[in-house]
């Protein structure tokens, strides 16, 4: 007989699922996230996994984690540390010993705390038996053996049975947080459509885990998090890379162009390729090229032939694309290059996040080669920035680099969906066919951009290429004065984009003691920290940049009004150096981190307090 425990209402909670990289922790975390999203919680996620598909089993480097922060109020970060940790083995416990709140709940799979498991994790004795975790609420659950017991009559082989144990863990956490199981049941039914025995087994284990949690009375109570108070509308849970893909599809539809993606697989950008390749039904053409260069060059070929040409990559891939990007710049072809930034240099930290490709995006080409650069700042607004990057490329006839990062790309949050009719029309800069004597490099007055004539259009035959071109005609020219003129015209075209973008916004009072400056994916952590400190009556404000090149026109005014400025970024100071070059009179402090991890609000608050008290 089970007794109904008291249900306690929480405002928010951070839960981390951690296990071996083959334990299915990403799936488990995603299921908990999707279920919570459907209940109307606001949330943010942080998947953190090794670069190896199956890193050495049972070791600390092989630990895969998924952290999710859910709440009934606005949630902007996946949380600094977890309230509840699910640790499927000793390595997962060890890897997360500093990411669990003092006094928090730790659910461990006690079956995997045998001597060999402990040794693999580098423990001489069990950390559960010394006082390593004194003061924590440790729930020792025999997850593996209960899963075996649960499925002993299922007819499945031993390996398949043990593989279902993540559902047992999920069942425990579902009970603990009063979540319904239907969403996950539906997911399992769809995922294993052709294998009913696997569906039944997983659902049974999920329920057995749920019932086990209710029965053991190890938890003093279960918890619930009510829906968040958010603006009315239709919502869905969305990941950054998916939002990026959809933003491009929306842009193509609004521009009335076909969408062409040339891409080469690379972590953590491949999911954009995967997502777009699903949507052939909407006319999306995806081309998995033989390498990064072919990926961008095919996209440029498609753009020349009239499509919205895009290419997606991460840092090392952008390095390989550099030469072609220069060609897009000098030929003045629309193109969007997405760089889902990861830890560098070189192969670096493929599955970790960083913002260290800003200088590469700005300057990583030969010659005078400015391009438009924009950055997304939340998983969901990757949609908006993919759309905006496409608009700028098509209306200003120039390549655009869209910077996201691993944290945004893999992270998820609820998204209040846009309707296409609410998005601005995109008007690709094209000839209308009535022009006499087409000059491929004649420019529009306001934008300084050129009009494209697309192959297949009668009487507009012309040649473009990477050699310097004579102003207006586009014919090859080695004339010194002409080269200088063209360098200037191309640079001015990018500068003029500032006339077509909104002003930079500031969150808080512009006359602030401390202005926090960020760009791109650090928004959630910076915003959470600054709004908390504002509630504590500190004079602090935030401005987060999405337009990087050119900067919004009022940028200098914002900087002039602040007493102190600190520029925070996940690199060694690339944006701050860019700002210093543009605004030599302004004094910028900087706060940097290169650990392959997002900021924590704790470290940010500490640093901001120090600056305010100095």
């Amino acid at each position: 007989m089970s007794t109904k425990n008291a249900t306690v209402e929480l405002d928010k909670v951070v839960i981390k699922f951690a296990g071996d990289s083959g334990d299915g922790m990403q799936l488990t975390g995603t299921q908990f996230t999707n279920t919570s999203a459907l209940l109307g919680n606001d949330l943010a996620t942080f998947p953190d996994f090794p670069a190896e598909i199956r890193a050495p089993q049972g070791t600390v480097p092989g630990v895969s984690g998924f952290q999710v922060h859910i709440g009934n109020t606005e949630i902007n970060t996946p949380g600094d540390i977890a309230d509840v940790l699910v640790a499927m083995n000793p390595a997962a416990l060890k890897a997360n010993k500093n990411s669990i709140k003092k006094g928090g709940t730790i659910i461990v799979n006690i079956d995997s705390f045998e001597k060999r498991d402990l040794e693999k994790a580098g423990y001489e004795t069990s950390p559960l038996e010394d006082n390593s975790f004194e003061g924590f609420n440790i729930i020792e659950s025999p997850i593996t053996s209960l899963t075996r017991e649960s499925l002993k009559d299922s007819g499945l082989d031993g390996k398949s049975i043990v593989r279902s144990k993540n559902m047992f863990a999920l069942g425990i956490v579902y009970w603990l947080f009063n979540r319904p199981m239907e969403q996950t049941e539906n997911f399992l039914k769809k995922k294993f459509k052709s294998k009913p025995e696997i569906i039944n087994a997983n659902i049974k284990v999920l329920h057995d885990g749920y019932n086990y949690a209710e029965t053991i009375q190890a938890f003093s109570s279960s918890y619930t998090i009510l829906p968040a108070k958010v603006p009315p509308g239709t919502y869905r849970n969305i990941m950054g890379n998916q939002a990026t893909a959809w933003g491009f599809m929306a842009a193509a539809e609004k521009a009335n162009l076909q969408l062409f993606l040339g891409s080469y697989p690379i972590t953590p950008a491949s999911d954009i390729l995967h997502e777009l390749s699903k949507h052939k039904n909407l006319g999306v053409k995806t081309f998995q090229a033989e390498d990064e260069m072919a990926a961008i060059c095919s996209a440029m070929g498609a753009s020349f032939a009239g499509a919205l040409g895009i290419t997606t990559t991460s840092g090392p891939g952008l390095a390989l694309k550099g030469e072609a990007l220069g060609l897009a710049m000098i030929t003045e072809l629309p193109l969007v290059v997405v760089n889902v930034q990861r830890g560098g240099p070189s192969t670096g930290l493929p599955t970790k996040t960083e913002q260290s490709d800003l200088m590469q995006a700005l300057y990583g080409r030969n010659g005078e080669s400015p391009v438009i650069i924009v950055a997304a700042s939340t998983p969901a607004n990757c949609f908006d920035w993919a759309f905006e990057a496409s608009r700028l490329a098509l209306e200003h006839s120039t390549p655009v680099v869209l910077l996201t990062d691993g944290y945004l790309g893999n992270g998820a949050e609820p998204w209040k969906m846009t309707k296409l009719k609410d998005l601005p029309d995109i008007k690709p800069l094209r000839i209308d066919g009535t022009e006499k004597d087409y000059l491929p490099y004649a420019r529009e007055e306001d934008t300084g951009a050129r009009k494209l004539a697309i192959p297949g259009t009668k009487d507009f035959e012309h040649r473009i290429g990477g050699l310097e071109k004579e102003n207006l005609t586009g014919n090859v020219s080695y004339d010194p004065e002409n080269h200088e003129l063209m360098c200037r015209l191309r640079a001015e075209k990018v500068e003029k984009v500032a006339n077509f973008i909104p002003e930079q916004e500031i969150i808080g009072d512009a006359n602030t003691d401390l202005l926090v400056v960020g760009w791109g994916g650090t928004y959630g952590h910076l915003y959470s920290t600054v709004s908390k400190m504002t509630q504590e009556s500190k004079k602090i404000a935030l401005t987060q940049f999405n337009y990087i090149n050119p900067l919004p026109k009022n940028t200098i005014d914002i900087f002039r009004q602040a007493k102190k400025i600190v520029v925070c970024e996940l690199n060694r100071g690339q944006f701050v150096d860019y700002l210093r070059a543009q605004f030599p009179d302004i004094k910028f402090n900087q706060y940097n981190k290169t650990q392959g991890l997002p900021f924590t609000t704790i470290e940010l608050a500490q640093h901001f307090d120090n600056l305010l008290n100095k």
Binding site: N34, A37, G40, Q183, V230, P231, P232, G233, T234, Y235, R236, N237, W246, M249, E253, F260, H279, K280, N281, L282, G283, K285, F287, A289, E290, D291, M293, A294, C297, S298, A299, M300, G301, A302, S303, F304, A305, A307, G309, E323, A324, L327, T331, M417, T418, L420, P455, G456, T457, K458, D459, F460, E461, H462, R463, I464, G465, G466, N475, V476
Partner: protein, 341 residues
């Protein structure tokens, strides 16, 4: 409404207003001229031709054609051509490349375009040297020749463009010399009519850095004995006296003289360019002096699904069987929830 019939195109319609900047005597002039004469014989409209070049002397070709053209970057022309063709399959796409562009820096793109069998035409001007960078050896330079970048004689073994094409499962391979304008024209036409990647190796002379590199094959006095002109369905007969032939002896080709040792015309191989099995095509492609004549003409021309057709067919199928037809429908598909006022 009555349709007005445009006057037929001539080679002049394809001449751009740009000064041609190849060296006097360069083999490229003859190729350009043959191209301008070949295109009016095809059915495409002028605006549907796109010429794409990489980097090198050959790759400047698009500037001299009054069509749509894209002079791109070193080695990557196949990727641009692929994007152009996929975005608009009705265009006739011609890639002009050289031995350095296609086989050194662009080797990867070259083999992958051929592997996919995308419907483009590749003209590889093979002069066995880097011209535009002033005389370094290329991947097709003959072993031992002395160049700027190895004055002691190169130790590399050369690539063979035909073998590379067939090795990548190429569906069309032809060889022709820049001294034979008529054959060039006819091969250009066959290449465009072939659905798939048509790869044409042009034995092209660089008067400045590798003069006469092909003259043992193309020279007026020697060509009849040094070339075997292959035509589908025709016997492999060549020579000044038209009395030499190619036979298969065991697993090897052999040159015979008709009328000697009881050999008759019936013993000579008949060229089958259409057969899928590339064994004989490989042997014919690699024939070289002095034991054999060099094969020219269309060596291989086989039917296969093109990459672009495959892409379009998949797209059409998915469109017909689609669950949703707009981005709005996609956004609201799957798990969503309503938040009310």
């Amino acid at each position: 409404m009555e349709e007005t019939v445009a006057p037929p195109l001539t080679h002049k319609d394809f001449t751009s207003d740009q000064d041609v900047r190849w060296c006097p005597g360069c083999g490229d002039y003859a190729i350009l001229s043959a191209m301008k004469k070949a295109l009016p014989q095809l059915e495409h409209k002028k605006e549907d031709y796109v010429f794409v070049g990489g980097i090198g002397c050959a790759a400047r070709f698009p500037y001299y054609m009054n069509t749509y053209g894209f002079h791109t970057i070193h080695g990557r022309a196949p990727a641009f051509a692929t994007g152009i063709k996929l975005a608009n399959p009705k265009l006739s796409v011609w890639e002009i490349t050289g031995d350095g562009d296609a086989l050194a820096i662009g080797g990867n793109h070259f083999i992958h375009a051929i592997r996919r069998n995308i419907d483009i035409n590749i003209l590889l001007f093979n002069n066995e040297i880097y011209g535009l960078t002033k005389g370094q050896f290329s991947p097709t330079s003959k072993k031992g020749i002395k160049t700027q970048s190895n004055p002691h004689g190169i130790t590399d073994k050369p690539f063979h463009p035909g073998k590379l094409t067939l090795g990548a499962n190429g569906t069309f391979f032809a060889r022709v010399s820049d001294t034979n304008p008529k054959m060039m024209q006819s091969i250009f036409l066959l290449a465009e009519q072939h659905r798939g990647t048509s790869m044409i190796e042009i034995l092209q002379n660089c008067v400045i850095f590798n003069d006469n590199c092909h003259s043992d094959v193309t020279g007026k006095d020697v060509k009849q004995d040094a070339q075997l002109h292959l035509e589908h369905g025709k016997p492999m007969i060549f020579g000044k006296e038209n009395n030499k032939g190619i036979i298969l002896n065991g697993l090897k080709l052999e040159v015979v003289t008709i009328g000697e040792n009881g050999t008759t015309e019936n013993d000579v191989l008949i060229h089958d360019a259409y057969t899928e099995d590339s064994t004989l095509h490989n042997m014919l492609t690699t024939m070289s002096l002095p034991e054999f004549p060099v094969a020219v003409g269309v060596i291989r021309q086989v039917k296969d699904m093109t990459y672009d057709d495959g892409v379009i067919a998949q797209l059409e199928y998915e469109k017909e069987n689609a669950k949703f037809h707009s981005v709005d429908e996609l956004l609201t598909s799957g798990d969503t929830w309503e938040v009310k006022e």
